[in-house]
Symmetry: C2
Subunit: 141 residues, 2 copies
Amino acid sequence: MNKYKIDDVAKESGLTKRTIRYYEELGLLEAPERTEGGMRLYTREHIEHLKQIVNARDVLGFSLQEIQDFVRIREELEGRKQVYGQTVEDAQQLQQLLEIQTSLDAQIRMIEQKMEKMTEFRQELDRIYTRVTDGIKKFTP
Amino acid sequence: MNKYKIDDVAKESGLTKRTIRYYEELGLLEAPERTEGGMRLYTREHIEHLKQIVNARDVLGFSLQEIQDFVRIREELEGRKQVYGQTVEDAQQLQQLLEIQTSLDAQIRMIEQKMEKMTEFRQELDRIYTRVTDGIKKFTP
DNA sequence: TCTAACATTAACGTCAACGTCAACCTTTGC
DNA sequence: GCAAAGGTTGACGTTGACGTTAATGTTAGA
């Protein structure tokens, strides 16, 4: 089966059920299909998406608000696809793309800055590490 | 003068006075010297230390607790220096160094994992960026 | 020396990001 | 077909990381 209930999703993502619902409530995670009775039915895509969110949260230290900004970009791109058939004005479409590009630019610059700082931090750790191993050598000739 | 009062430190570090005192309360920042009347007098070292904390917090997304772990390592190393004169048993010193080394190992591995994930994230951004610029090209031949 | 400008502690307030609990409804396995 | 297991929506509780305010003391400069 390719439909998952919330507890399956919780187990695979490492999040609690509460958190998963909370992310949906915030608009971070797309609201899944429901059964007749109201039970949420997730797809693989939801799970992958959640893993990305966890990544951004834990690894990049993004707030849920910041992640929201990122998700919005993704959704605007998806949204564009859906209206492809209808004749949305070209100028407007272009305008939208340019805005997304600006947003992306900012995000990429931010990531690069973070990686730079992280490298610095790593080097600091390395320096300390060297000092420690040198110290150990003195005791174990 | 090489002594700073809390407002100077606040201005240079970008933190509020409240936050600076809070970090001291948590043990993140070393308690500074005081005047007769009880006013805190910081040194350049305090300021640099604070900047590192801000970096770890904002860039690496560390919680104050995680930063605390890092600060502890630094302090244990400094602490070792101070007792250098006294005859602390060699075996004990070595033991301490080995513990620090283990701690550092874990931290370095964590950082490396974060950088890996960050690279993934960057690539994802690049992919999206490409799609967007391709979309723009279609409108501007 | 006296006052305006800044510091200190203590205590309560706030906001994000969930945890937890209750009351109730669905599914599932025997 | 029925009980146990699991899901749903509120709603209130908690924790971390500070903000804010009050009451009071300290410094610096005219």
